[in-house]
């Protein structure tokens, strides 16, 4: 088996456990789309064109609440602004690629794909085919998201709400941070981010609480890093 295929499969395998909560999430999204009466084509169209779970649900919520296009688009931008930071992190490993590769990999870059492939890139910095890992992890997310959207459209609400499956979304992201639990500086950064988001959830407009919390936490991270460098 050649190296590219091996790396691609590694990406698929690494991201797979994180897809478990994506299925109920996609089904819930499909159900919301149908409930709001935008029809099967637009419900699936959003999943294909935007391909960003949380921002799709925000868009539907705001649309059904009668928000203006400007508010809707600003909110989608605010919810997805975190991807700018993911791009900055990954750019170091992807800068040598052709533009067509950059377009494809950007389209499929999700939270989960970023998390597993960034880990892989850090550990396999010398591998010239490392971008196949992101292709594998990204398209796995894409495929699972489209299938679960269709399931939601076709089946309706089959997932009982009492199971609290939306909680598994939080658990997935928590599981992605396990290597940070042992580092004191990271714990401080995590605490700042989480606290600001919780306080700002209702007060920061355009659902921008995630990016506001992330930027404040990064400022704290920068201060901690600079203090550390000063000591040396």
């Amino acid at each position: 088996m050649n190296n590219k295929l091996k790396t691609l499969i590694k990406g698929i395998i690494n991201v797979s456990p994180l897809m478990i909560p994506v299925v109920p999430f996609g089904i819930i999204y499909g159900v919301i789309g149908m409930d709001l009466g935008i029809g099967p084509y637009m419900t699936l169209g959003l999943s294909i064109i935007i391909f960003g779970g949380a921002s799709q649900i925000v868009l539907l919520q705001l649309f059904s609440g009668g928000a203006s296009s400007l508010v809707i688009l600003s909110s989608v931008g605010a919810v997805n602004a975190r991807h700018v930071l993911y791009g900055a992190v990954l750019s170091e490993h992807l800068s040598g690629l052709k533009i067509s590769w950059k377009i494809v990999l950007s389209y499929v870059m999700t939270d989960q794909a970023f998390a597993v492939s960034n880990d892989y890139f850090k550990k396999n910095n010398k591998d010239s085919n490392q971008h196949y890992h992101l292709l594998g992890s990204g398209f796995t997310c894409w495929t699972i998201w489209q299938i679960s959207t269709i399931l939601g459209i076709v089946l309706g609400s089959i997932v009982p709400e009492e199971l609290g499956l939306s909680f598994t979304i939080s658990l997935t992201f928590l599981a992605l941070l396990i290597s940070d639990f042992r580092k004191f500086k990271n714990i401080i950064v995590m605490f700042v981010s989480g606290s600001v988001a919780t306080i700002g959830y209702n007060t920061i407009p355009f659902k921008a609480y995630i990016i506001v919390a992330a930027l404040l936490a990064l400022i704290v991270a920068a201060l901690l890093t600079l203090i550390d460098l000063e000591k040396k």
Partner: protein
């Protein structure tokens, strides 16, 4: 809902993903910047994790006998010792189910 709104939203989302990958050239970032960017997961994921755990559906702080907080703490303990992603997710989910079905 109209298709142009969906397409604009799609373009905005794509630009957030593509901009830095397209603009940043190799070695443009110094070691200090790289070090700070290594905190990106720690700076973003808690902002996604905390609100649904600590806030109820109405958006008010919910700290008293909240099964999600207890299940998250249990998941953190399992994650800390096992360093295993799947074990962490399932430890949190199973302890959450145990709490809501048998305890609360």
């Amino acid at each position: 809902m109209n298709w142009s709104l969906i397409i604009y939203a799609g373009i905005i989302t794509f630009v957030t993903r593509f901009s830095m990958i397209f603009l940043l050239k190799k070695d443009i970032l110094n070691n200090k910047a790289k070090k700070i960017l290594s905190f990106v997961p720690a700076a973003i994921f808690p902002a996604i994790i905390f609100p649904p755990i600590f806030l109820d559906n109405a958006g008010t702080l919910y700290l008293d006998s909240n099964p999600k907080i207890l299940a998250a703490i249990f998941a953190i303990i399992v994650g800390f010792f096992s360093k295993n992603i799947i074990a962490t997710i399932f430890a949190g989910l199973i302890s959450y189910w145990f709490l809501i079905f048998f305890y609360f």
